[in-house]
């Protein structure tokens, strides 16, 4: 067994227009897309939204396979949703198998729901696929900043994300080391039932937690020694710039989304 060396945030570097947009533009447009997806009813609207997502995916030059990968974890939910709609929605009969009655309405609503969820996942994955985690965190911090007056800890959330991103590879490496050390002492992580396998994880998780807490403690001292005192008065090396391209893309997308919402 080996701990996978994950690429976090699944960012795929590139220099397409989508890659170069300000992260705030991308996050906000993805949000607008989500809102549009949940307001529209007509198949024409769905078609327009699907065309927009397809155009965005193609222009980003991110492999379509990568964009669709975001669907894998929810594939089961998609199928379940479709089947439930198909057989449970009242309406005109389509066919019947073993006392289960599928309806035309069910088929239509089921399909549209699947399309809606698929487009939603694709649009949001496209943001993380074309934005490096650091830039994404920066964008999120700046977007949430105004919400500080209502108590949203914008800077702290962004700092937590940064530290998590920073330490995931370190902790994975450490997990791998501990597992190898335990295996060298005869530990077995692969055989036995679920209970046994869960039990065999304890000698890994305990040292991992102990070390994680020690790391957190040392990191806190190191950050204080470098004058860290929260977000106040802090400047940033990287400046986000909302440029002309952002304005044009944002305006065009909003107009298009509005048209998609009103079309019948």
């Amino acid at each position: 067994m080996k701990v996978p060396s994950v690429v976090i945030g699944q960012y795929i570097p590139g220099d397409s227009l989508l890659h170069r947009l300000d992260p705030r533009t991308k996050i906000l447009l993805a949000l607008a897309m989500v809102v549009a997806l949940f307001t529209v009813e007509s198949p024409w609207s769905y078609l327009m939204l699907a065309v927009l997502v397809a155009a965005a995916v193609l222009s980003s030059r991110v492999p379509v396979k990568m964009v669709l990968r975001g669907l894998r974890p929810i594939a089961f939910i998609l199928i379940l949703t479709f089947v439930l709609h198909l057989f449970m929605d009242p309406g005109e009969e389509l066919f019947t198998i073993w006392r289960l009655r599928a309806t035309h309405e069910g088929l239509r609503i089921g399909l549209l729901t699947v399309v809606r969820l698929t487009l939603l996942i694709m649009a949001t994955s496209l943001v993380t696929l074309t934005t490096s985690p650091i830039v994404f965190t920066d964008g999120l911090e700046r977007l949430l900043n105004p919400l500080r007056i209502v108590g949203v800890p914008a800077h702290e959330l962004a700092m937590m994300m940064t530290i998590a991103l920073r330490f995931i590879p370190t902790l994975l490496e450490e997990t791998d080391k501990i597992m190898k050390a335990q295996m060298a002492r005869g530990a077995d992580f692969e055989s036995g039932g679920l209970v046994n396998r869960a039990k065999s994880m304890i000698p890994i998780l305990v040292p991992l937690f102990v070390s994680a807490f020690r790391r957190a403690d040392e990191l806190a001292v190191a950050m204080e020694a470098r004058c860290y005192r929260g977000g106040q008065g802090r400047t940033r090396l990287r400046q986000l710039r909302f440029g002309p391209a952002d304005a044009v893309v944002a305006a065009a997308t909003i107009v298009y989304l509005a048209a998609a919402v009103v079309v019948r």
């Binding site: 650091i134 920073r166 040392e218 190191a222 950050m223 204080e224 020694a225 004058c227 005192r229 400047t235």
Partner: protein, 284 residues
């Protein structure tokens, strides 16, 4: 000249419960001047880290005072000026790098100080050049070797424009190559940039490179002086549970066997030169 750091009659006790009071420092006096390279050695638990943490107000003395550029570390209003003036590099390189890329991490200190973006950029580039890490701006910390990570940590401190850098066993977890890299870097900072360096180490071969060696023992300063002075007292050092450098050991052994060594050599080069001179004298 005003000292960078002046530690005056400082005692420090870690307060545990009622009984577990640990006196980690007892009446310690240390002065660090600009551009000086000071090594601190001492056995485990002798109070080196505790002393280091007093140098930039991570700990405040139980008794006595610490001054950084004349500012008392008890003065809360000077806290950030003090931490800007004295930077710290710790033992575990992994646990002091905050950001996900090298340049972002080096920028962390200046960002906290509120330095304007263009100026941060300039400082990051300069600092990375000083530690020979130009070209690694976008690298992720986990892609670097131990020595490289420590040099990034040093760059992160340099970018804050400090007057002194304190390294608390910063070479302890590195391989010989990494140790060399770090040591070369900090020596250059002291000699060329005029930044004082306080290097805590348990490698005697590193301590001999310092201008001054401070030996700690159970919270007190047991010995202080130029490396040659300190290391020519092997019996005292052994009592303090410390070794003398291997070269020095060899020279002292030769002296015991009747070879008349002209001085206490501290490095291989010195010993080689001395033996060469001796042989040259005989074989002529």
């Amino acid at each position: 000249m005003e000292p960078i750091i002046s530690i005056e009659n400082v005692s420090y006790a870690y307060e545990g419960g009622e009984q577990d009071r640990v006196d980690a420092l007892l009446d310690v006096n240390v002065r660090v001047d600009a551009g000086e390279f000071v090594a601190i050695i001492g056995h485990n638990g002798s109070g080196k880290s505790t002393l280091a943490k007093h140098m930039n107000a991570i700990l405040l003395p139980t008794r006595g005072d610490v001054y950084v550029l004349g500012m008392n570390t008890r003065d809360r209003s000077k806290l950030w000026s003090i931490r800007q003036a004295v930077g710290m590099v710790f033992q575990n390189p992994d646990n002091q790098i905050v950001a996900t890329t090298v340049e972002e991490d080096v920028a962390f200190g200046p960002e906290n100080l509120g330095v304007p973006p263009d100026e941060i950029r300039r400082r990051v580039d300069e600092a990375l050049a000083l530690v020979d890490m130009t070209g690694y701006e976008q690298a992720a910390p986990h892609q670097l070797s131990g020595g490289q990570k420590q040099r990034v940590a040093i760059a992160g401190v340099i970018a804050m424009r400090p007057r002194c850098i304190v390294l608390d066993e910063a070479t302890a977890m590195l391989d010989p190559v990494g140790r060399q890299e770090v040591l070369r870097t900090v020596r250059r900072l002291a000699s060329e940039e005029g930044i004082a360096v306080v290097h805590i180490t348990h490698f005697m071969s590193e301590a001999v490179l310092a201008d001054r060696v401070i030996v700690m023992d159970d919270g007190r300063i047991a010995l202080e002086g130029a490396p040659r002075e300190v290391f020519s007292q092997p019996d005292v050092l052994r009592q303090l549970q410390l070794d003398v450098p291997q070269v020095t050991e060899l020279a002292l052994e030769l002296a015991r066997k009747g070879v008349r060594m002209p001085r206490t050599p501290l490095t291989v080069q010195e010993l080689a030169a001395d033996i060469h001179a001796l042989l040259g004298g005989c074989a002529g």
